[in-house]
């Protein structure tokens, strides 16, 4: 019987050992919306052995332009219920833990199973700071994605060795509560986030942590820019109260 992962495990940098590493890894995904949908689907496809995901929303009609985990028949259902069903159908061999509650730091810092990577598919700055704090406390890498209009950001933060989310955004940004989003952009960026997650887990390619990929789909530009750690960072800096490195 052909192997489910045959077409990826033959890639350089993966192989049978890499595939086993993916199957033994635990990824925490915050948010199952426009970014979370493709992230979760591709992690499930890739055979990430344990995925914990959190979202407390129900599926709404306005989600339909981008949240591809859900369809019109799911409107009104809990997102975590639908996501669990859909992801199990994609790959029944993985272990899923849906959390239908508000995000809190303890989900990461006190997880029963050690978390290898956190993926930020959230839609607001305060929750992102909470996630970044939890990741820094446990030394867990965080893949960050965000979008608004035609613009999007993708980054990997490893705050024990480089800048964290709050080093890049020292001041909480002002933003629209529900920015306009084109579904294809959410799909593109979410897919890229899943690739970054697999790259980090398997240590494939150069370390890009601390840099940001700034995408503008209207101008058609992808710029990679480099951030530096700031000493007064409230999360990872001196005096933050976080564990010292």
């Amino acid at each position: 019987m052909p192997d489910r992962y045959a077409r990826q495990s033959s890639l350089p940098g993966i192989g049978p050992a890499g595939q086993r590493a993916l199957e033994q890894s635990h990824i925490f995904v915050a948010g199952t919306g426009g970014l979370g949908s493709p992230v979760l689907m591709y992690l499930a496809c890739a055979g990430i052995g344990r995925i914990t995901f959190v979202d407390r929303d129900v599926v709404e009609i306005t989600n339909m332009n981008r949240q591809i985990l859900f369809d019109s028949t799911d409107i009104g259902s809990r997102k975590t219920d639908v996501a669990c069903r859909r992801l199990s159908a994609i790959n029944p061999d993985i272990h899923l833990t849906p959390l239908d509650t508000p995000l809190n730091e303890q989900m990461i810092t006190e997880s029963d199973f050690p978390i290898d990577l956190v993926i930020d598919c959230l839609d607001n700055d305060p929750s992102r700071r909470m996630l970044a704090r939890a990741c820094h406390a446990r030394g867990i890498p965080m893949v960050h994605g965000a979008l608004a209009g035609y613009e999007a950001t993708l980054a990997v933060f490893q705050s024990r060795t480089g800048p964290c989310y709050a080093c890049v955004y020292p001041d909480p940004p002002v933003d629209a509560i529900s920015p306009p989003v084109l579904g294809g952009i959410a799909g593109t960026v979410g897919s890229m986030m899943a690739v970054e997650a697999i790259r980090v887990i398997l240590d494939v390619g150069p370390d890009r942590s601390g840099s940001l990929l700034l995408m503008d789909f209207e101008r058609g530009t992808f710029d990679r820019v480099y951030a530096t750690r700031i000493t007064e960072c409230p999360i990872c800096g001196i005096g933050s109260g976080s564990p010292k490195i």
Binding site: G36, D123, A146, A148, G149, E151, E218, R224
Partner: protein, 79 residues
């Protein structure tokens, strides 16, 4: 001195590009910070989440040099 500011998306509305659809040429006094330059052309710093020059993120306290091109990014927080 001359500075070129670029922006896409919603920031374009505030930037009022005049070189091309995304770029504005700004004449300013040497030694001004990016924050002061933005204020002088009517852009509130709160509308700029980050700025970069070349491949480096720069703070709004950055003092641009003559001919520099700086790209501005609006807040991007959706998911």
């Amino acid at each position: 001195m001359i500075l070129y500011l670029k922006a896409g998306g919603m920031l374009r509305e505030y930037l009022q590009p005049d070189v091309d659809a995304f770029t504005r040429r700004v004449e300013c006094t040497e030694g001004m910070s990016l924050r002061d330059i933005l204020l002088s052309i009517g852009i509130r710093p709160v509308h700029v989440a980050m700025a970069f020059s070349g491949d480096r993120l720069i703070p709004l306290s950055h003092v641009p040099s003559d001919g520099e091109t700086i790209t501005l990014r609006p807040p991007v927080q959706g998911g």
